[in-house]
């Protein structure tokens, strides 16, 4: 199925239909419906508690919705387990960074790059196969270079600075070569130089024909990085437009500062 906009045929990567999720009677997601087009960069913003991270958690399979559907590349993925969601092409980062701290930066990336076949027990115990990570390490080095983390390759991920860990988590997701990336506050707490690097990474991802949805509180990032901004408040959409229009809209400002 294709979503035709004005002059171009664009494929819909993600379609969310009537998605609802409540916790103890509080509606975190209230009948949400939206579509995300391929090769777009969309920001989801909203005050705390508006449901942004819940939305990501439901899409990624960590939470079951009370009702509604999630369709990814024309496939219904609503009740898929998180590992399956990743396998079919959705990569994700977290608000609280989740790199693997007590293993090296390189190993963090290798985990994303290694193939399922070689992760098997039989392959692992077979003394007649000579295994080498060299090829994957070369791929990883390219990614590390993009993030300017090459010299930290053998460092434990937990020893990196906050900004470096954010970059690592993003690169690790990028290493999955996913169709759709969900970044949760990718530039939170990072220095401006790192923010710029992350925004450049967004551009490369888009150039590779892939799609990004990111949650952010940092409005600079939203203004510079997003093509479309969706605003969530109390589980419902209150705006959906271009960054400048949304960020200057009265409705949105009230949602953040109002009652």
């Amino acid at each position: 199925m294709e979503l035709k906009t004005k002059n171009e045929k664009r494929k819909t990567v993600l379609r969310v239909q009537d998605l609802s999720k409540s916790f103890d009677g509080v509606k975190a997601l209230d009948n949400l419906s939206f579509e995300i087009g391929k090769q777009t960069i969309t920001a989801i913003i909203g005050p705390n508690g508006s449901g942004k991270t819940t939305l990501f958690n439901v899409i990624c399979g960590f939470l079951r919705p009370d009702n509604g559907n999630i369709i990814f590349n024309d496939k219904k993925i609503t009740y898929f387990a998180p590992y399956k969601i990743s396998k079919i092409g959705i990569g994700r980062t977290f608000q609280m960074i989740r790199v693997f701290p007590q293993i090296t930066v390189m190993e963090n990336l290798l985990l994303a790059l290694q193939t399922e076949r070689k992760e098997g027990l039989l392959y692992g115990l077979n003394p007649f196969i000579k295994h080498s990570d060299k090829e994957l390490e070369e791929k990883a080095s390219i990614l590390l270079k993009m993030a300017e983390l090459k010299d930290k390759s053998n460092e434990y991920a937990g020893n990196l600075s906050h900004g470096q860990r954010r970059l690592l988590e993003i690169m690790r997701a990028v290493a999955l070569d996913a169709d759709l990336y969900l970044f949760d506050e990718p530039t939170a707490g990072v220095f401006p130089e790192v923010r710029t690097r992350i925004l450049n990474l967004f551009k490369s991802i888009k150039e590779q024909n892939n799609t990004i949805i990111f949650v952010e509180h940092n409005m600079e990032t939203v203004r510079e990085g997003a093509e479309r901004v969706i605003v969530l408040d109390k589980g419902k959409f209150i705006a959906d437009s271009k960054p400048n229009e949304v960020l200057d809209s009265k409705v949105v400002i009230e949602a953040y500062f109002g009652g």
Partner: protein, 293 residues
């Protein structure tokens, strides 16, 4: 001299136990509290096959490992999707069940009376056959098996499979977002850990030639766990060092020359004190790099 060789045989058997537990606890981060149950299954399987059906200990060794491995799968399967702590309780519960079965199913295991007269390993080479009845002979067997265990496990852990295990330890949720079916990996880990623990149990049985449930209690499981923690979680060499130290230190305290009336309790207190000091000043273990979260 034979005494020292005997100690080394015991160290070798515990080294295999500690390495197999380290894969579960140190590399995958699953607190497993019932490891002795796997060696119980290996020991009893091999012994009963030999005593009742005349099966060669070599085959019994393998059968013991396989049955213990299957037990590992059965124990973990229902508990896989539960939070980590519940999996730990499941392993603990299983070890109590295994001990109880060994102690109470007298018809099969002779209960607390144990199984005496377990046949020893026999080697048939070029028309000559002999039993591994001397300690030094058994030591060679144990060392060979321990080294093979070490080589196989370190190869496994260096490969992509091992990397996934570490990712589960570090952050299971993040691991899932990289496409890893973490419950399945946990199942496989217990398969592997159980197998080698079963082998160690069978080795013990055909060495001492007598087993009873008291060798496979909860305290045993905790001792093996302490060896892993002491030596350094997440490194196989650490598990071996832990096994060595936690056998040799208490044994060497025998020679300190304490008055016999207080020797045993003092030994235990010193042992405990050494452990506490180590855990305070070096919680990652002697050569470990990974701290318990």
């Amino acid at each position: 001299m034979e005494y020292f060789l005997h100690i080394l045989v015991i160290v070798g058997i515990y080294a295999i136990l500690a390495m197999s537990l380290d894969v579960i606890v140190g590399y995958t981060g699953i607190p497993s509290l019932g490891h002795a149950a796997f060696s119980l299954i290996g020991a009893y399987t091999s012994s009963l096959l030999a005593l009742n059906l005349g099966v060669s200990p070599w085959l019994g060794l393998l059968a013991g490992g396989i049955l213990a491995s299957i037990a590992g799968v059965i124990v973990t399967f229902p508990a896989l999707r539960l939070k980590g702590d519940y999996l730990a309780l499941a392993t603990f519960g299983f070890s109590i069940i295994a001990y109880s079965v060994a102690k109470n199913w007298v018809g099969l295991t002779r209960g607390p009376m144990g199984l005496p007269g377990i046949p020893q390993f026999e080697i048939k080479l070029l028309g000559i056959s002999f039993s591994l009845s001397k300690v030094w002979q058994y030591l060679i067997l144990v060392i060979v098996i321990a080294v093979v265990t070490y080589l196989l496990l370190s190869m496994l852990l260096r490969r992509p499979f091992g990397r996934v295990l570490k990712s589960i330890r570090e952050d299971e949720i993040a691991s899932q977002t990289l496409g890893k079916d973490t419950p399945l990996f946990k199942l496989k880990v217990f398969m592997v850990g159980g197998f080698f623990a079963g082998i160690a149990g069978a080795l013990y049985a055909h060495y001492i030639t007598f087993i009873d449930p008291s060798s496979f209690t909860v305290m045993e499981s905790i001792t093996i766990l302490l060896m892993v923690i002491f030596g350094g979680m997440g490194t196989l060499k650490g598990a071996v060092i832990g096994a060595f130290l936690l056998i040799v230190i208490p044994e060497s305290l025998r020679f300190v020359g304490l008055p016999s009336s207080i020797a045993a309790p003092i030994r235990q207190m010193l042992y405990g004190l050494i452990l506490v000091i180590l855990m305070v000043y070096r919680p990652q273990g002697i050569i470990g790099r990974y701290k318990w979260k």
